[in-house]
Symmetry: C2
Subunit: 395 residues, 2 copies
């Protein structure tokens, strides 16, 4: 097995343990040696108290936190006799992020992940980042905090993880472009007319990755890719024009980096999020993972085509947000969340989501920047409110 086993146990805090990233993280940790190889100083979840308590006991966590302040007693009871410290609510989440570790897996979804992840960043922790909003909505704040804290950011999105793997740190000056691959989602061959008529159920059927409802729809609209473009900008210090997106239906090439000598380096793998999670957990070592190996003869072909931005305007909106800078990423994300919820509720059509995000971004294009996390929350709230107001306006 790997070097990882010859070392002192690695201390990994898991923010958002009960979600898909968290569960896969615990699965990978169990495979890589479990309690013999890892300590879990803190673990957090939302309302699934049973699962969280089970995870905390199995991992031998030091501190277990539910984000829901009303469930404190439930979690306390579920962990009684375990000796595991219990907390609940936002300040306990931040405390979980602050506990001393070798790595924090930042798997809390949405804007709720900002504060605890920023707390971990600020104390100089290495972060395995699975939360998109940290960089999309608060990229500048995070960049400053990372520089100050001195920790490393290990991306857990398969695309950014791929780029991280083939981005030569000593040759960053030689990077010409990064190429994010996109499956294209279920509508990659639909006409605009067909797309206008789709339902949330149809939109959530992702061809390659098994994911939740919201992220599946974001993938179908390519808003997911739009967020990844903005993330990539902050993660890798790229200019907007250095970030390309290419449709790759097979999702085997997870992303690529193009250098000034014409070389393109790529990371490939089966579509399985344990690749990126395992990489982040084991970094800078590579440890054996029980994931499918690629058989190129079976794959037979890998296809690529340019995304159609008239059908997927989210990509152009990402470029606009990057060019405008400041809080436009937070506005794009907040407006997208509001529009996505309205689409799921059936009050707007699939293609209207981008229109509403565009209108909201224009309305809040006032050059504002974040100097603290509260500015990000405010921009997010305002974007959601404006998006809702636009949607409620009689047509």
């Amino acid at each position: 097995m790997s070097d990882i086993h010859d070392q002192a146990p690695r201390r990994i805090t898991i923010l958002g343990a009960t979600g898909s990233i968290g569960c896969n993280t615990l699965d990978v940790m169990a495979h890589l040696g479990g309690r013999g190889a890892f300590e879990v100083p803190a673990i957090t979840g939302m309302g699934n108290i049973d699962l969280l308590a089970r995870q905390a006991r199995t991992a031998g966590a030091g501190f277990a936190v539910t984000a829901d302040p009303d469930r404190y007693q439930d979690l306390k009871q579920a962990l009684s006799g375990s000796g595991i410290e219990v907390g609940a609510g936002p300040s306990a989440l931040v405390e979980a992020g602050e506990r001393e570790t070798d790595l924090v897996m930042a798997g809390i979804v949405g804007i709720a992940g900002l504060a605890p992840t920023l707390a971990a960043v600020s104390r100089g922790a290495d972060i395995a980042l699975a939360n998109k909003e940290c960089l999309v909505s608060a990229g500048d704040l995070f960049a400053t905090a990372m520089t100050k804290g001195g920790g490393r950011l290990l991306p857990v999105d398969s695309e950014h993880n791929a780029i991280f793997q083939v981005l030569e740190q000593a040759q960053r000056h030689a990077v010409e472009r990064i190429i994010l691959t996109a499956s294209g989602g279920p509508f990659r061959d639909y006409s605009r007319e067909q797309m206008a008529a789709v339902t949330p159920e149809v939109a959530a059927a992702h061809p390659n990755w098994s994911m939740g409802l919201k992220i599946s729809i974001d993938s179908a609209s390519m808003f997911n890719k739009a967020l990844e473009m903005i993330e990539a900008r902050h993660l890798f210090g790229m200019k907007p024009e250095q970030i390309e997106v290419i449709i790759h239906p097979q999702s085997i090439v997870h992303s690529m980096v193009g250098y000034c000598d014409g070389s393109v380096l790529a990371q490939l793998g089966a579509p399985d999020m344990r690749h990126a999670i395992g990489y982040a957990i084991s970094h800078p070592h590579r440890a054996p993972l029980p994931v499918e190996r690629l058989d190129f003869a079976k794959l037979a072909k890998l296809e690529f085509h340019a995304p159609d931005e008239t059908r997927f305007p989210a990509l152009a909106l990402a470029r606009t947000a990057m060019q405008r800078g400041g809080l436009q990423g937070a506005v794009l994300n907040g407006a997208k969340e509001a529009a996505l919820e309205a689409f799921i509720a059936g009050t707007i059509g699939f293609l209207q989501m981008a229109d509403i995000v565009a209108a909201t971004m224009d309305r809040l294009d006032d050059g504002r920047r974040a100097s603290m996390i509260e500015d990000v929350y405010a921009a997010d709230r305002e974007a959601r409110a404006i998006a809702k107001a636009i949607m409620e306006r009689p047509a």
Copy 2:
């Protein structure tokens, strides 16, 4: 431009300057700053004295050598008044390899490249290796000399260069396999019957790379890939079963490395040997090269399929040579050269080449190893003689 320009001129000796590797090397050096960026302590060629003299003058070489001892006076005359020292014949070639440099481009084709390259290796020079025979025929000797000398080996074959680019030095223990891509040559879809009838002219028409006659035919028979498998074994310390070959007709993915975490890293580029040459010349920096950039939407698809070893027995012969070890690589190569010459001369058919190599390898499967370079020459001569004897034997 790159860091390369901020440093003292890089001293690069070019062995085999008038061939295709040598000419491309000088082209890349001219692009990367020419005499402002590079010094050329020594330069060597064969019988094309005019070209060699022109190259030596343009580069401001310190020492120019023709491998042909009878052309000493011609070269001396062509360089008169230039102040460039002149040499001819085998010992002058070795002297060229011994001159102090930062890098030696080992571009002499065939067994003739062994002695001067080994001379450079032995004095601890970094070597950009374009000669296959150094590793195929004399892999053990070279490995020992490299370890003793302490220099680095930078592969210039596009496949090995690709692997070098994505083989993480600190994670060598985590490498599961290397995957050499092969265009499959012009006969990849031919039946055995069709292959039996091909002429040298047809065999030399390579679909993607522009190359000389012999190497084009080696590519069509996949003997070229067989040599590359043996090279890869020595270059990267792989076991025979860790070396895979996959047919990839587009020649865009230049080769790949598979790790124990399921990740496969790949280097991609347009089929242009200046990629690998430029990489080796600039290493460890990446410097801008005037090569075509990949446009994935235009490429549209990358195909892969398993090689058919009944039609391409060269691959199995490479595995046999690796398993047997010792001088079987030299025997494979020597027999292949003799069979190739007979095929070009029209005395044997295309498919007979592999039969003759196999028979020669079996005949010389006596466990012999090389303890000095003369042993390699002897095995090469003997393999050629036996292959010829087999071919001359009445059927």
